[in-house]
């Protein structure tokens, strides 16, 4: 056992890590669910396949993080228990990922903003002093490159496209901007995780994210939304929009109706 894994015998650190992993897992689980809603509804069949593929990656990554969370918690819960038997208030995902899909531009914009964030975050998490966290991050990082490239292509194509596509892309960015603030808040995150070199400081990721995001937005002939508008917050603390409950009721109904069901 690595000396840093050994530190996790400390209850406070263990709880902090559990919560952090839940945050990562929940983001991907909820976003994966939202993306899977496109299956059969995307504008062209290639896009149907692409969004389903990305959804599958998100769910796989969520599985790895939630499994690690369950293991860290050590109370006999599995990743499935965490996914299907928690209520909205116990979910730690950012509000951005639970918002309804909107039109195609909205989904693309969200994927672009979130994948850009994941790209930076997983890049940094690969350096975590926790080997397991570093290795899951390294795996996810490879997948995120494909997601990011896919969404960047669409942002460029729609932004620098027709009047209608440009308008929709700009509108989506403007609508989503207020949900980007909490990605960089370190809210509900115990400082001990940062101090031990387990996770990066979220605030420090912001300039890197901004630089990449701004470059693409400008290249797509779109305007970078202004920073002074109201920023939503609280996802990491279990504060959610009205949409999460509806999403969960659909996602969890089978597992809750037939606990332990197998086929």
């Amino acid at each position: 056992m690595n000396e840093n894994d050994d530190k996790l015998k400390d209850e406070k650190l263990k709880t902090a890590l559990f919560n952090y992993l839940l945050g990562l897992g929940d983001d991907l689980l909820i976003l994966g669910h939202r993306l899977s809603e496109w299956c059969g509804h995307a504008p062209v069949i290639e896009e149907d396949i692409a969004l389903s593929n990305i959804a599958l990656d998100c769910l796989g990554e969520a599985n790895a993080f939630l499994q690690y969370a369950a293991e860290t918690e050590g109370r006999g819960r599995s990743e499935d228990d965490l996914a299907f038997f928690r209520d909205a208030i116990e979910f730690k995902n950012f509000q951005m990922v639970e918002l309804p899909n909107g039109d195609f531009a909205f989904t693309v914009a969200r994927q672009f903003l979130f994948s850009s964030y994941s790209f930076i975050l997983f890049g940094e998490l690969q350096k975590s002093r926790l080997p397991k966290l570093a290795s899951i991050a390294a795996k996810s990082f490879k997948e995120v490159k494909y997601h990011l490239r896919h969404s960047v292509e669409w942002v460029l194509r729609l932004g620098d496209g027709t009047e209608e596509s440009h308008y929709r892309m700009q509108h989506a960015l403007d609508e989503l901007w207020m949900y980007t603030g909490e990605l960089f808040l370190d809210e509900g995150l115990d400082r001990v995780l940062i101090e031990n070199g387990f996770v990066p400081e979220s605030l420090k990721l912001k300039p890197l994210w901004q630089e990449r995001v701004n470059e693409v937005i400008s290249r797509a002939t779109l305007l970078i939304p202004t920073e002074d508008s109201h920023m939503a917050r609280g996802g990491r603390k279990g504060i959610h929009t009205e949409y999460l409950g509806h999403l969960l009721s659909e996602m969890q109904i089978l597992a809750r109706s037939y606990p332990g069901a197998k086929w």
């Binding site: 290639e46 795996k139 996810s140 490879k142 494909y146 990011l148 960047v152």
Partner: protein, 163 residues
């Protein structure tokens, strides 16, 4: 009789990837290690993609294949590190892919990833070997493949994307 690691690895060569049935899990480099202790066999595998639906089936196949050979005490463990890469595909595996009609992955480079620069892989057609091909969709029928089109022989084909 003591069971050797080589014997187990040999058996695992008959476990095929359900989605790319010409490749065994040994060809893919999924099997990282085999540990044998007091008759208990632990097979360490590493996922190709996090969400690859074939992984579950592969685990079951490993267990049933080894059981059929008389090894009853078998467990499969997933390890994430080091991260799987298409560079682990052997030349034999690459040729098998090409013969099957799937363009094998190019070698991964250390090139910096810049999302703004849309650098598609220049893939040769597995049917006619022409380099005049075009990416149709970065995502294909499975997580590991992209969809290309050959302008020479006018056929669509799949590319095992480098990862």
């Amino acid at each position: 009789m003591t069971t050797g690691k080589d014997e187990i690895l040999k058996c695992l060569e008959s476990v095929m990837d359900p989605e790319v049935p010409v490749l065994s899990i040994m060809d893919l480099g999924i099997v990282r290690d085999v540990e044998i202790s007091l008759g208990h066999i632990e097979v360490m595998i590493t996922p190709t993609y996090s969400g690859c639906p074939a992984m579950k089936m592969i685990q079951e196949e490993i267990i049933s294949t080894l059981r059929a050979k008389g090894f009853n005490d078998v467990a499969v463990k997933t390890v994430y590190s080091p991260v799987w890469t298409t560079d682990w595909l052997s030349d034999k595996a690459r040729n098998k892919l090409k013969d099957y009609g799937i363009a094998p992955p190019l070698k991964t480079g250390d090139e910096e990833f810049i999302p703004l620069i849309i650098n598609d892989d220049n893939v040769s057609c597995p049917y006619c070997s022409s380099d005049d091909t075009v990416l149709r969709s970065r995502f294909g029928s499975t997580a590991c493949k992209s969809l290309y089109f050959c302008n020479s022989c006018r056929q669509p084909f799949e590319y095992f994307k480098r990862f």
